[in-house]
């Protein structure tokens, strides 16, 4: 491919060109970087992306709104419910739909579970990349438990297609609530043992401290958001600065780091897991105080009626037909809505011309914007540090390429 410049291959050249990727066991995904090496140090780097580009923005222009949800969960597949709900909230903003409080709390519970599973993967894999396999195995079991909760609520595990515009397709059943409670009870012990394996581990600190640092100013200029920006010391979290889905009612802290190196990113993610647990506990308590049985907004013109009603009730049949055939009145307008995804600000810029599918839909994918700083961050670092830096940025190939 024309991207790759192998430089001059004369024998007098003092640097080596190293092709890392597109498929390399240490990069967890399809990333290609061509590195110019001076011994073990990286002189310059160039990344090539787009290996799993699936043209979601183009496909979205040809699909009705409710069929775009499965596209969104294939972006950041480590925390797909956040993407799903972010999209639903964007459409709700366009349609001026108010969701009931109970729906907000249910969403918060699932989104925080998703954030935990996202951070678990990132920190677990970071451990593997530095040579510590044990912690990863502890956490994988907990991720499995989170996936079982998803499965209980929506029937799917990884690409969840969670909920509908206006709420959920069904209520949380007793089993799922019991599973969430069990998770809240058991998980802290596992997390504590994970932290005690890593946080003050000499080898781990040597491998991550001062590796791939970025200053707050540079991070903002590069468009960083999420844990990577907070690790650099900027307390920007959408859940706190522009709350959505009733986040303003919850009591939680926004952890920040100091120098934005790999260790800071690791610690910020760990602390966020604890904060997410706090939020889930509060949300569960609040949810139980709300009247039971409400799991979607009362908007029959946008929310699919239950199947039994479609067969027995004229009105439900009409709404069903209208929604499925795209005959619903959709206002014209432009909306930008952002949620705090696993990796940062996940934005949806939606232009509607009143048709059944968006006129334009643009996903602001945090990974895509963060990853362009990677080549700058690894300059002058060792090759093994570049691997660790990439791992701690938590670049998800699906979100990078859309």
């Amino acid at each position: 491919m024309a991207h790759i410049q192998l430089g001059d291959d004369s024998l007098e050249k003092e640097t080596t060109t190293l092709n890392l990727g597109p498929t390399h066991p240490a990069t967890h995904g399809v990333f290609q970087n061509v590195l110019e090496m001076d011994g073990e140090r990286i002189v310059s780097a160039e990344s090539t992306i787009g290996y799993i580009h699936r043209a979601f923005e183009k496909i979205a222009e040809h699909r009705p709104y409710y069929q775009i949800t499965p596209l969104t969960d294939r972006m950041n597949y480590c925390s797909s419910p956040i993407n799903n709900f972010g999209w639903h909230m964007t459409v709700e903003k366009l349609l001026n739909v108010q969701t009931p409080k109970r729906v907000d709390y249910m969403r918060v519970i699932v989104m925080e579970l998703a954030r935990i599973s996202d951070h678990l993967i990132c920190n677990g894999i970071l451990g593997v990349d530095t040579g510590a396999f044990t912690g990863f195995l502890y956490l994988m079991q907990e991720r499995e438990n989170i996936y079982e909760i998803y499965e209980e609520i929506c029937g799917a595990r990884l690409t969840t297609n969670f909920g509908r515009v206006g709420g959920f397709e069904r209520d949380f059943n007793e089993k799922s609530i019991a599973k969430i409670k069990k998770f809240l009870k058991d998980f802290p012990t596992i997390m504590k043992s994970f932290e005690s394996l890593f946080n003050r581990n000499r080898i781990f600190i040597d491998r991550t401290k001062d590796v791939g640092p970025i200053s707050a100013e540079d991070a903002l200029n590069f468009g960083f958001t999420g844990p990577c920006l907070r690790a650099a010391g900027v307390d920007y979290d959408l859940r706190a600065t522009s709350p959505y889905s009733s986040y303003e009612e919850f009591d939680f802290e926004v952890p920040v780091g100091t120098i934005g190196d790999t260790y800071d990113r690791f610690m910020v993610r760990n602390e966020e897991i604890w904060q997410s647990l706090r939020i889930i506990e509060q949300a569960l308590a609040k949810m139980e105080k709300e009247p039971a049985g409400i799991f979607h907004a009362d908007v029959p013109e946008f929310y699919l009626p239950p199947k039994a009603d479609v067969y027995n009730n004229m009105e439900a049949l009409i709404y069903h037909f209208k929604i499925v055939m795209g005959e619903v009145e959709i206002p014209k307008g432009e909306v930008y809505h952002a949620v705090e995804g696993g990796n940062g600000e996940l934005g949806f810029y939606l232009i509607s011309d009143g048709g059944r599918s968006p006129f334009r839909l643009h996903f602001r994918r945090p990974c895509f914007i963060i990853y362009q700083a990677f080549t700058e961050m690894v300059k002058g670092q060792l090759l093994s540090d570049a691997i660790v830096t990439m791992s701690s940025l938590n670049v998800i190939a699906g979100e990078l390429d859309a």
């Binding site: 222009e61 366009l94 200029n221 468009g223 055939m325 930008y336 059944r356 643009h362 895509f368």
Partner: protein
């Protein structure tokens, strides 16, 4: 914490740039205006460097194709983090001459986003350090997000999407 007042910001901009601030509106609570490509850089520089407004974060940059008007648009979402104020700037450029100055010097995050916009819409960002395709293959000839390109193979005869309102 500084707070930005919409009206002072607008009157400041109008005083400085006059006729370049057009079509001011506020869809869903987000201040939006249209400007010309000649004034774009000076407006963004002013917003970025001003100590009052401090729009130092480029949230999003993307292209839009308005096929009926034969125009392309580049949309900038700016964010002033200290005061948590967002706004949107749109610049329309004709399809026949899709050129616009780059904002890479102000916001490093624009680099890949401009490449993405070039890749999909063929908008040429003048002065961009490395303007080439990013997500699509290098030898692609079309700009696939433009409206004239159908999603599926137009020669297929076994499907008729018009039944479904597409």
């Amino acid at each position: 914490m500084i707070t930005i007042d919409k009206n002072t910001l607008l009157s400041d901009l109008q005083e400085k740039f006059g006729a370049a601030i057009q079509k001011v509106e506020e869809p869903y609570g987000l201040l939006t205006f249209t400007t010309t490509k000649d004034q774009l850089l000076s407006i963004l520089t002013f917003l970025n460097e001003s100590d009052v407004y401090r729009f130092r974060f480029l949230t999003d940059l993307c292209g839009v194709h308005y096929a009926d008007e034969k125009q392309l648009a580049v949309v900038y979402h700016l964010h002033s983090m200290e005061s948590n104020f967002r706004m949107r700037i749109k610049v329309f450029i004709p399809e026949s001459n899709p050129r616009i100055p780059t904002v890479c010097k102000l916001y490093k995050s624009a680099n890949w986003q401009e490449r993405e916009t070039f890749d999909f819409y063929g908008i040429i960002f003048e002065g961009h350090p490395n303007l080439k395709r990013i997500l699509n293959v290098d030898d692609m000839v079309a700009f696939p997000m433009r409206k004239e390109h159908p999603l599926e193979d137009p020669n297929r005869i076994d499907k008729n999407d018009s039944y479904f309102g597409r």
